[in-house]
């Protein structure tokens, strides 16, 4: 438990705006506020889950933290160093510590390379191992993710989705990172394969003391794997709490609706469902005040004009006027 209290990454007021350009001169006429001010901390050894509907900015968050996207504003502090604005060379060294696992098992592996080459590439870039040693390491990594060394000579297309996801994980592990950002690593997988990968991720965490930022839209999966969960809506985090607290007593009306909408694989369960009206607004012109207010059942006057603050309530965080 003590480990969990050591911050690994601190995210402060993180923003990522995509410009919307127009015309010949590419004038910026507006911004897609994909991520609009996030504050949270990822502790060493924990799994932080991130959920939310499509387009709410989950992937953007993950990518900006890893500096794959240049944040518009804010800080990402990794072990005391702010990654934002760091010199490329320094950043490249730090990249060893943070890796990513992707959603699409088909698009995330270069189809031209063999599996061995794919796994060896990060080691080559950082000149970690060479020759025989490298091959040995590739074999080791393959074993770790449940594949065999004879798979190293094959090409990705010769593998099934679940196996590819394992290759992706092996590649992420090659640099012995501390943090792995997993962006919907199981969404594309079949139910029976999904559990294999989830189990693998959990095993590796135990084995190597990894920290995960686990992004998904499937609440059941997130709940299963995470320690804490953050709920995002339209570029902002609306609630962040220990998973049990979140599921047992969701505070934010959006969290409540989201949880109630998940179909339960039990025909006998009878539940009260909160059906939200309308669609998620466009992040290009989000509603004033609380971005959730047009769909919120508990909407108050203040919600329409004032953005709720990110406040701590009993060791958990929520952004809602109900709790200010």
């Amino acid at each position: 438990m003590s480990m969990r209290q050591t911050p690994l990454v601190e995210i402060r007021n993180l923003k990522k705006y995509y410009p919307i350009t127009k015309g010949l001169l590419k004038r910026t006429v507006n911004h897609v506020k994909a991520v609009d001010g996030l504050d949270f901390t990822i502790y060493k050894g924990e799994t932080l889950g991130l959920v939310g509907e499509s387009g709410c900015g989950k992937s953007t968050t993950g990518r900006t933290i890893l500096q794959l996207l240049q944040p518009t504003e804010g800080e990402v502090i990794y072990e005391g160093k702010n990654l934002v604005g760091m010199k490329p060379r320094e950043l490249r060294k730090l990249r060893k510590n943070m890796q990513m696992v992707f959603q699409d098992p088909y698009a995330s592996l270069d189809p031209r390379l063999t599996v061995g080459e794919i796994i060896a590439e990060p080691m080559e870039i950082h000149r970690l191992y060479a020759g025989k040693e490298k091959d040995k390491r590739v074999d080791e990594l393959l074993e770790v993710v449940g594949l065999s060394s004879y798979h190293a000579k094959r090409h990705p297309h010769e593998f099934s989705g679940g196996q590819r996801q394992r290759i992706g994980i092996a590649r992420a592990l090659a640099l012995e990172p501390q943090l792995i950002v997993a962006d919907e690593p199981v969404s594309a997988l079949d139910v029976s394969i999904q559990s294999q990968v989830i189990n693998l991720l959990q095993d590796l965490q135990g084995q190597f003391g990894l920290t995960y930022l686990f992004i998904a839209h499937d609440l059941s999966v997130v709940k299963h794997i995470s320690d804490r969960i953050g709920v995002m809506y339209l570029g902002r985090m609306v609630e962040l709490a220990d998973k049990h607290d979140l599921y047992d007593t969701p505070l934010h009306p959006y969290t409540q609706a989201l949880l109630s909408a998940v179909p339960v694989p039990d025909p006998l369960a009878k539940r009260e469902r909160i059906v939200l009206q309308g669609d998620v607004p466009s992040p290009a012109n989000p509603p004033q005040g609380c971005t959730f207010h047009p769909r919120c059942q508990a909407c108050m006057e203040i919600c329409k004009t004032q953005r709720p603050k990110w406040t701590e309530v009993d060791g958990r965080y929520v952004a809602c006027h109900l709790y200010e």
């Binding site: 029976s192 189990n199 059941s220 179909p263 694989p265």
Partner: protein, 325 residues
Amino acid sequence: MKPKLLEIKGLKTYFQTEEGVVPAVDGVDIVVYEGETVGIVGESGCGKSVTSLTTMRLTPGKVVAGSISFQERDLLALSDEEMRKVRGNEMAMIFQEPMTSLNPVFTIGQQIGEAIEIHMQYSKQQARARAIDMLKLVGIPRAEQIVDEYPHQLSGGMRQRVMIAMAMSCNPKLLIADEPTTALDVTIQAQILDLMRELKEKHNTAIMMITHDLGVVAEMCDRVIVMYAGKVVEEADVVTLFTNPKHPYTQGLMKSIPRLNGTDERLYSIKGSVPIPGTLRKGCTFAPRCEYATDICRQEIPELNEIEDNHSCRCWLYEAKGEQA
């Protein structure tokens, strides 16, 4: 018991591909009774979509065996023209991808109206009026305007509603829904599922609901059919299936899904992966992944037997109800 609406018997649909013959659907039996919702679940590539498309006679594959009888008519024996009159009229379909299932170059009204004009012999104006009514029925606001808009101006949820409006516009007896909510967010999924349930009750339409989400099945269906590698492996009413799954695959499936109200224990996982169609081995297709597999499983394909009342299973572990006696 309600009368049978659709009965598929021993259906086999094969594809001729560069890599050889792919038996996508390899002996499927399905019965749908009037007004009920049948769920079809199974992993990706197990043949769910091909089964439904074959029912509509829209598959590019070749039906090599079996029969499909719909309202006592053998669909496979109909002429193309007769089949065309069934489609969209007595039997309608909605697809997984609302984004690509609507024609981008025609207005919503034109697309809904088309089926109405074809099957109900309405004039253009009448069809348009009915299209607006249908849009209202599926809960689309500003239906009068939306009717003249193009699909790209609508959100995913709205498009799926349009698809449903289109499918329901000629009051079909059977609605085939192929993963109607997979592409949607949970909050939108909840809206669409509610809508389908509502419509079904209002019009007494039978629904063949294809999905791989057991949650959706549990909420929507009366009866469930589980498919694995082109074959039906288990069939039961929804409560039975969830409380008392028989086939090792169904059991594994049930155990491997994480649940919101579940514990943090390790998930169960079915070892191995789904076989690629066309690479069949002898015996039961699930045998390589099955914990209980015995020699016979690896040698011979089991039959789909009714092991209890209204509960069938394709597995050597169980014997047919009749024989048992």
